[in-house]
């Protein structure tokens, strides 16, 4: 009778966590959303290692009432994209820092702090906050995201009405060794509008973040994220997106170490001819590195394209996980779905666990998925060395080449160049 026991353990863990949490005050609409979210958490129970969905990643440190401490991260490389004209929004351990941030204003967009929005009796965010997170998304429970909706006090709420050229950069600083941050962002990109959202930094010792994005017809949302490098964080992040007709959603994430990182991305293509690209590049070195990309894309409209490209370079006991699913509903004809997850294992101690899935109910679709694990190409290495490139440099070149397909998903060169530079820096630091 294992199951009831697990259920009991889950219930106890959930109760223990909820006991220490206090629902923030707010207007009626957000209190309702939060209350519903608490109910969902209680109904689902927080994740347990025995849950199918958490088979490859141990959720305990994300669930337990108190976070594990994490050493502060000293950024000796300076801010990323420092010379880029961008709207900076700074959070320190999950709390908005007005001093360090730019004025929350920009051409073509309205940007507000969630803490302020939550006090307003009437706000458009009512239709978005917790709504995408609560969606069915393929019948998979995501209780940590529901926990976020229930207890998040801070975040940004952005409404984009025009083509915004200046990116919004959410900068997450970590200044307390035991911080437990919950951030919830909502972005509504209105018809024909366009915006780029950047996220950088280590955030907190423990970080639970949800980003809900509603991309209206003919709108475009670009997202580039660089998670704090070599940081002891434990993070669970969830992106929940809904795509309208002819809309575009593109997201790229770079992860360079981190004790535990679970990045989920759940997208629903609800309008015809929508395009969704989700990519991730990750480099992991050491046994205290565990990175999990979990992606769920639902095609629920005609002639949509989705693309998942995830690349991981792992060594010294680092573990990489990919769980990716494409669900094509009955009426989603002419779907073009692509999913590739690959790992480059630099030694025999590294581990890559993959669970690619296709679930297709329409009969006129082109869907492909592939997952591979491999060692470095010895022939290529020899070729490079025979031209005078030293072993380490040759290996790094091949590592970058391996990651290139994921990095190519960043449309903007000015963003990707800096990311390449950070990667090169990381590889140098972690030279074997």
């Amino acid at each position: 009778m294992a199951l009831p026991q697990v259920n009991k353990v889950k219930q106890d863990a959930t109760d223990a966590r909820l006991a220490g949490m206090e629902m923030p005050d707010g207007a009626a609409w957000i209190t309702e959303a939060r209350t519903e979210a608490v109910n969902r958490v209680q109904a689902m129970g927080l994740p347990h290692a025995r849950d199918e969905y958490w088979k490859f990643t141990k959720p305990a440190s994300l669930v337990q009432p108190e976070p594990e401490a994490a050493a502060l991260f000293h950024n000796d490389e300076g801010p990323l994209w420092d010379d880029l004209d961008r709207l900076k929004v700074v959070f320190v351990d999950g709390v908005f820092d007005a001093e360090a941030s730019d004025d929350l204003a920009g051409e073509g967009l309205e940007i507000e702090r969630l803490a302020d929005v939550a006090t307003k009796d009437i706000h458009w965010a009512k239709d978005l906050y917790g709504q995408l997170e609560a969606g069915e998304h393929g019948y998979t429970p995501r209780p940590l995201a529901a926990l976020n909706t229930a207890f998040a006090t801070d975040g940004v709420v952005i409404r984009v009405s025009g083509k915004v050229s200046k990116p919004v950069n959410l900068i997450y600083l970590h200044k307390s060794e035991t911080s437990d941050a919950i951030l919830h962002h909502c972005v509504k990109v209105e018809e024909g509008a366009e915006v780029t959202l950047l996220e950088t930094g280590p955030a907190a010792a423990r970080f639970n973040k949800v980003l809900e994005v509603d991309v209206a017809d003919s709108a475009a949302f670009h997202h580039v994220r660089v998670q704090g490098r070599d940081h002891e964080r434990r993070a669970v992040t969830g992106i929940f997106g809904r795509l309208g007709t002819e809309s575009t959603f593109k997201s790229f994430t770079l992860t360079m170490n981190g004790v535990l990182t679970r990045n989920e991305c759940v997208l629903e293509l609800t309008g015809d001819d929508a395009v969704a690209h989700v990519a991730g590049a990750c480099v992991g070195d050491g046994t205290d590195f565990h990175h999990d990309d979990t992606v769920f894309i639902t095609h629920d409209a005609v002639n949509c394209e989705s693309r998942q490209v995830f690349k991981k370079v792992l060594r010294n006991g680092a573990v990489g996980v990919f769980q990716g699913k494409i669900l094509v509903k009955e009426d989603a004809q002419k779907t073009d779905g692509y999913q590739i997850s690959q790992s480059l294992l630099l030694d025999e101690d590294a581990q890559f666990l993959a669970k690619p899935e296709l679930e297709i109910y329409a009969d006129d679709v082109a869907c492909s998925h592939g997952s591979t694990s491999g060692a470095i190409d010895e022939e290529a290495l020899y070729y490079l060395r025979s031209r005078g490139v030293p072993m380490q440099q040759a290996t790094d070149l091949l590592v970058l080449a391996f990651l290139a397909e994921a990095l190519d998903e960043i449309a903007d060169d000015s963003l990707s160049e800096a990311i390449y530079a950070r990667l090169e820096g990381w590889l140098e630091r972690h030279a074997s």
Partner: protein, 251 residues
């Protein structure tokens, strides 16, 4: 320049002797050709000299200007001035041809304690050299050898040789997979690099290549040894009569 003395080599994985006492000296400014039937050990010789893994040297030595090649890593041999033009150039998806060339060039310079070449100067030099080999801008931008035709790959090898300016060039069946025009182009590229300080070791099956790249000395290799050495006429003899006569003669 290149001195090989009684070189014995086995495959690491299996107990198989490939080279059984190779002796060969290439002087600066000279072009030596090695011909020989399939399986005689010609390509193995080129791999062992350039530092490929998987071979065990069980005896003998190989030096470049007195430096022990066999004791060096592959990249050190390159920096010391050894270059192997591959029979099958390797495709490297994701690494741009230009990046590759510049990384290699500057890595060698750095290893030799020389100043690195600036991006601007590099661009100028590579463009000029590429032009003579009919390598267009697109080929320079594409990933190393990916989607290149057989001829393009070989031209790319010669471009690397021209950029790296090695002291000692080994060409491993550079003529394989080339049509007449491509062979001419590649040979011209090689001939342009001939100078009194540079040695060449040209491995080939056919006399044809040697019509374009005229050798000073021709060696016949069989069963892991150099069995006969002569002038350019030796290559013609092989072309006309095959290896059988020579092999019977030395047996």
């Amino acid at each position: 320049m290149l001195e090989i003395k009684d070189l014995h080599v086995e495959l690491e994985e299996e107990d198989k002797k490939i080279l059984k006492g190779v002796n060969l000296t290439v002087e600066p400014g000279k072009v030596h050709a090695i011909m020989g039937p399939n399986g005689s050990g010609k390509s193995t010789l080129s791999y062992v000299l350039s530092g490929k893994d998987g071979y065990e040297v069980t005896g003998g030595q190989a030096t470049l200007d007195g430096e022990d090649l066999l004791d060096m890593e592959a990249e050190e041999r390159a920096a010391a001035g050894l270059f192997l033009a591959f029979q099958y150039p390797v495709e490297i998806p994701g690494v741009g041809n230009m990046t590759f060339l510049r990384t290699a060039l500057n890595a060698q310079r750095k290893a030799r304690g020389e100043e690195e070449m600036s991006a601007a100067e590099f661009l100028k030099v590579v463009r000029a050299k590429a032009k003579t080999l009919k390598i267009d801008a697109d080929m320079l931008k594409r990933p190393v050898n990916v989607g290149f035709s057989g001829g393009e790959k070989k031209r790319n090898e010669i471009l690397q040789m021209a950029m790296l300016e090695p002291k000692m060039c080994i060409l491993d069946e550079t003529d394989s997979g080339l049509d007449v025009d491509a062979m001419k182009l590649v040979s011209e590229g090689v001939n342009a690099l001939r100078d009194e300080g540079r040695g060449f070791l040209v491995i080939t099956h056919y006399q044809r290549l040697l019509d374009h790249i005229k050798p000073d000395v021709v060696h016949i290799m069989a069963d892991g040894r150099i069995v006969k050495t002569g002038g350019p006429e030796l290559a013609l003899e092989v072309e006309n009569n095959g290896y059988a006569d020579i092999l019977t003669e030395v047996a």
